[in-house]
């Protein structure tokens, strides 16, 4: 019995020291982490919505090949896409991961609800990544529909 208490006490001491250390590092890095997230968000906004255009930024996350694709889409007052950026995704490296490339994303610039926005119709899909390409297209359509309302 006495041994169990001794072992438990030792384990508890280690946990307390570890928790204390982590709390310190957390408090120390927290403001920086929050600042980074803010800067990253603002940079993305600048990328999808040029400063001379007024409009709004929409966040969507259509389902890709292996998980949601988090995207940011800038739409101007006329309902045209000004820019698309993929913030986060889990697509296959080398195939679906190519959706982040400007050569693919820039195709969406200028599109509006009047366009079909479908791969193989008015958008060139990425070779070997039909599902990922289609997901990005549906994300853009979703964003345009959101703005309309």
């Amino acid at each position: 019995m006495g041994k169990i208490i001794k072992l438990a006490t030792i384990l508890m001491i280690f946990c307390v020291i570890s928790a204390g250390g982590l709390a310190y590092v957390y408090l120390f890095t927290k403001p920086k982490i929050e600042k980074n997230a803010k800067v990253a968000y603002e940079n993305s906004v600048k990328e999808v919505l040029p400063s001379d255009a007024s409009g709004q930024v929409v966040l969507v996350s259509p389902r890709g090949y292996s998980g949601p694709i988090e995207m940011m889409i800038g739409i101007d007052k006329k309902g045209k896409v000004t820019g698309v950026k993929v913030l986060n995704h889990r697509e296959t490296p080398g195939l679906g991961a190519n959706i982040v490339k400007p050569s693919f994303l820039n195709q969406f610039i200028g599109k509006s609800l009047k366009d079909t926005i479908e791969p193989k119709k008015d958008i060139d899909a990425i070779t070997g990544a039909t599902i990922s390409s289609r997901a990005v297209c549906s994300g853009v359509r979703e964003a345009l529909n959101k703005v309309k309302k």
Partner: protein
């Protein structure tokens, strides 16, 4: 001389990935390009050296029965610190490696070295073992990363070498990791035989 041996062992003779065959999970996951491989190596080095140091330091006050939970507390503390620091100071690296950092906790190289080495050896030897093992891990991981990135994406550290359309995409997908590790292991075995 002993210190040198402890340091040297991890590089080739007891290379964690290619010889001891531990820590294969993160190796397979992050070696699809050279940059990720290098970033992961640095993160693992920080955790491994840190945990080896602390475990060697406290090995005399650690009761045998609860050594594993204590190792895990120490290792996960270092991993979490590493996670926060990366998020705060290297956000671009974190964007690429963020998902893999928590996986370092279960990287068996770290628990393996704690149990097999740091728990039984003095502090200095343990730190050197940590450095050696980290370098060995980095060597293996970066070699695999470079080979896979060249063959699979036609670039090295993100610098394009040739048109990626002629690259073998399979090399940056999971099978490419197994193929590359297999060839590297074979090459290392062949080399070692010649030396002996």
């Amino acid at each position: 001389m002993n210190l040198w041996k402890d340091f040297n062992a991890g590089l080739i003779k007891e290379n964690p990935v290619l010889r001891l065959m531990i820590g294969l999970c993160p190796t397979l996951a992050v070696s699809n390009n050279a940059t990720n491989a290098l970033g992961m190596s640095v993160a693992v080095a920080f955790v491994l050296i840190g945990s080896n140091w602390v475990i060697a330091l406290i090995r005399k006050v650690t009761p045998d029965e609860i050594r594993i939970p204590i190792f895990i507390i120490i290792i996960s503390t270092f991993v979490t610190i590493c996670d926060y620091i990366m998020q705060a100071f290297y956000p671009t690296l974190y964007a690429a490696l963020g998902v893999f950092v928590p996986l370092i906790v279960v990287n068996c190289i770290i628990l393996g070295r704690a149990e097999a080495f740091a728990y039984k050896n003095p502090v200095l030897n343990s730190i050197l073992d940590g450095i050696g093992m980290s370098l060995g891990f980095a060597l293996a991981l970066v070699s695999i990363g470079v080979i896979r990135e060249i063959l699979g994406a036609g670039s090295v550290f993100g610098i394009a070498l040739f048109n990626p359309t002629v690259a073998a995409t399979i090399m940056i997908l999971p099978p490419g990791a197994f193929i590359t590790i297999g060839f590297l292991m074979a090459a290392l075995n062949k080399m070692e035989k010649k030396v002996l």
